[in-house]
């Protein structure tokens, strides 16, 4: 039985260090007068229960899931990326995009207005739907979205440090399509049925190459632990070591997150948002963000595997948050590239996407595996 103090001590032992808020900050400094702001966390240090909550929040495993790279970072990335997507598309299309809602910041809060509108709209469950599942599955999506965070570390912040973090993350991410297929089944409508079939087919087309590309990097670095992998890339990032794997992984992400040109399961003119056709209101808001959440997760993985993860100049005041910042910036930049594809691509057909996945990309994936094996041999022989 853990005592209160032992629990508190356990949280404090393994807490996130951010000098900006856990150390004293010098505000005003002359030779005689020195003004400090006492650390914010120390305010609560003495108050029972509250100090436990604060300690829990800063406890690394909890912090990882809830703040970085978990839920909060995801939301911070999502709102601007949806706005950015609409803005950059509009820019390429010779127009402005969302603007008038807040002219000074270019309509940045437009996604929030849409969210508010969704929130207060009626939720319709149609007669044919499998009612309990129809409402449960959208909420269940948080499970496969947050589970991979457990094994994705950022610098020293991680929930579970495992030597199998990359395979585990990919395995957990691949739960998302199952939820989508289940959503399509629960909707019990023809278009939802066609849409979830498409989702299932797309899953087959990208999953193998995604795994092969990731594994080729694992072979190259000689470890499946994300922390090891990032350390290996301290000089040369993975994208230079094995560009083919990066390319394959990149395209697999497009397929996995149904971005253009592989936006096939939700194809609006063909199957009217496929699995999500019957959803209304805030539940639709939930299911529509699945693709963006998945994009965020896979971009995290891409940054870790190919872009040197959280490597970057250390910023002392941020402490443990400095790697978080670098990883977040890389991830966000990647997401911006992915959403840009909407501006100049249409969508492929399902059978074409399958063909691309199974022939061209599979070939590239095997080549990337070969490159990794070759580099690995050179590395072991000590020629590098």
């Amino acid at each position: 039985m853990l005592s209160y103090n032992a629990l508190l001590e356990m949280f404090r032992q393994n807490s996130v260090g951010i000098p900006l808020i856990t150390r004293k900050v010098v505000l005003y400094h002359t030779a005689t007068k020195v003004a400090y702001i006492p650390p914010v966390t120390s305010l609560f240090a003495k108050i029972p229960i509250l100090n436990l909550i604060v300690a829990l929040l800063f406890w690394k495993p909890f912090f990882a899931v809830l703040f970085a790279p978990g839920l909060v970072c995801m939301l911070i990335a999502l709102l601007p990326i949806i706005w950015f997507e609409r803005k950059v598309t509009a820019r390429v299309q010779w127009r402005y995009g969302p603007l008038e809602i807040s002219r000074d910041i270019g309509g940045l809060i437009q996604p929030m207005a849409d969210g508010m509108r969704y929130f207060f709209q009626e939720v319709i469950t149609h007669r044919e739907a499998h009612r309990p599942y129809f409402l449960q599955f959208p909420l269940l999506t948080f499970l496969p979205v947050l589970l991979p965070i457990l094994v994705i570390p950022v610098g020293a912040i991680y929930a579970i440090n495992t030597p199998y973090s990359i395979p585990a993350a990919i395995a957990l991410i691949s739960l998302i399509p199952m939820i989508i297929v289940a959503i399509g089944w629960a909707s019990n409508s023809k278009y939802a049925y066609v849409g979830s079939l498409r989702e299932a087919f797309m899953y087959f087309s990208y999953e193998i190459i995604l795994i092969v590309a990731a594994m080729s990097m694992v072979i190259l670095y000689g470890s499946a632990n994300a922390i090891e992998i990032v350390r290996e890339q301290s000089v040369v990032p993975g994208v230079i070591l094995n560009p083919v794997a990066a390319l394959v992984f990149f395209i697999a992400i497009i397929m996995a997150t149904s971005r253009f040109p592989f936006e096939i399961p939700e194809a609006d003119p063909e199957v009217v948002f496929g699995p999500f056709v019957e959803y209304t209101g805030i539940i639709f808001g939930l299911v529509m963000t699945i693709a963006y959440e998945k994009l965020y997760l896979l971009c995290l993985l891409f940054s870790i595997l190919f872009l040197g993860g959280w490597n970057g100049p250390f910023i002392p005041p941020l402490g443990d948050l400095s790697p978080v910042l670098w990883l977040f910036l890389k991830t966000f930049a990647l997401m911006m590239i992915f959403v840009f594809f909407r501006t100049f691509y249409g969508r492929y057909r399902l059978d074409q996407a399958l063909k691309i996945g199974w022939s061209t990309l599979m070939g590239f994936a095997v080549v990337s595996l070969g490159i990794s094996l070759g580099l690995g041999v050179i590395n072991i022989a000590g020629w590098l």
Binding site: R95, Y96, F120, Q121, F273, T280, F284
Partner: protein, 361 residues
């Protein structure tokens, strides 16, 4: 009918978080993709680069379940009316309707058509935009007006019209009484439907007419103009003529037409054919016509000669009730709503135009 418009506004402006609700609804008017007619062109322009209605937070979206605005783009036909109502009912509350285009409001050009409805009697409408089609500016100003309505809770027409007192302007003393003149429409009681031969300078036509006369001696063949040949035949030879023309190289149907001659109690069924495969015949249109009884209008179908006749025959069946024997789809409504019967017959009367404003209006 309950006032859904008022209920929507009431829902949005009630409760402690009313400002948030109103703000969300105001800046996120997503229009459902329900193209109903040709005003869709200007709707597309309003959302495209030229005007970019997306600036105002409105977006044209595919599916009814995720939207809160219907922009009715013009005509709602009797067939479309149910689709409009279903779409509206499937949309989650609170929802709004903007109606653009004269066709949707009072019918516009089609005010007395047999196939259109008044959409504002089917769904509750928030704003009406005139024009045929309205300009994209008109649509955007309706969206702006709707946003203001959500915010303030009351609808307001964007423009004011000041009334002038005519009595003051013109004086009340009655001058000479002006009687409304005779309306211009002049429709003959006993119309004369005839097609007469016309001699024209057209070498190919003379050859063709000669050839056809030889092939179908039972029919009357003559030219009516350059590139136009007319064949008068009988219903029992109708298909024979068609086969003969097919042998000559006429490979597709240009038009199948029925003329209703009410006072003579007959239908004239005409079929115009032309050719794509023979270059000289490309501009030539050969029309062959047969008269049939108006009470039991039956004529052989031509779909086994020219497949391109199929939909036109079904259309004529809808319009006139002519039964094309051999077409498998007879007896089924194709183009028009089930409740309309043979609208193009001359005894199917439309509402007459009026030129003087009635007092009750």
């Amino acid at each position: 009918m309950r006032d859904v418009n008022a209920e929507n506004i009431e829902f949005l402006s009630s409760g402690a978080i009313a400002p948030v609700k109103k703000w969300g609804a105001k800046w996120s008017l997503w229009a459902v993709h329900l193209v109903t007619s040709c005003c869709g062109v200007e709707l597309a322009h309003a959302y495209a680069s030229g005007y970019d209605a997306e600036r105002w937070g409105t977006l044209n979206f595919g599916m009814m379940r995720q939207t809160n605005l219907i922009i009715v783009e013009g005509t709602i036909t009797k067939k479309m009316a149910r689709a409009l109502r279903i779409t509206w009912e499937q949309m989650p509350d609170p929802k709004f309707v903007i109606l653009i285009g004269a066709c949707g409001i009072e019918g516009g050009l089609f005010w007395n058509s047999y196939h259109i409805t008044r959409p504002w009697k089917i769904v509750p409408v928030d704003y009406f935009v005139p024009g045929c089609p309205p300009t994209p500016e008109g649509l955007i100003s309706a969206i702006r007006a709707l946003q203001k309505k959500i915010e303030k809770g009351e609808a307001r027409t964007t423009v004011k019209f000041r009334e002038t007192d005519l009595a003051e302007l013109l004086g009340t003393e009655a001058g000479k009484e002006r009687k409304p003149p005779k309306p211009p429409l002049k429709i003959a009681e006993k119309p004369e439907i005839k097609v007469e031969p016309k001699e024209v300078e057209w070498e190919l036509g003379k050859q063709l007419v000669g050839k056809l006369k030889e092939r179908i001696p039972y029919a009357e063949v003559f030219t009516t103009d350059v590139n136009r040949i007319y064949i008068k035949t009988d219903a029992k030879f109708y298909k024979k003529v068609a086969k003969a023309l097919e042998c000559e190289g006429f490979d597709h149907v240009k038009s199948i037409n029925v003329i209703d001659v009410l006072h003579e109690n007959k239908f004239i069924v005409e079929c115009s054919v032309s050719s794509y495969s023979i270059k000289e015949f490309m501009p030539v249109i050969v029309t062959f016509a047969a008269e049939i009884d108006r009470c039991n209008p039956r004529i052989p179908s031509l779909i086994d000669v020219w497949l391109s006749a199929d939909y036109q025959e079904r259309e004529m069946h809808d319009f006139f009730g002519v039964w094309f024997e051999g077409n498998p789809n007879m007896g089924q409504k194709f183009l028009i709503a089930p409740e309309v019967e043979t609208p193009l017959r001359k005894d199917f009367k439309l509402e007459e135009p009026s030129y003087v404003l009635e007092e009750n209006k």
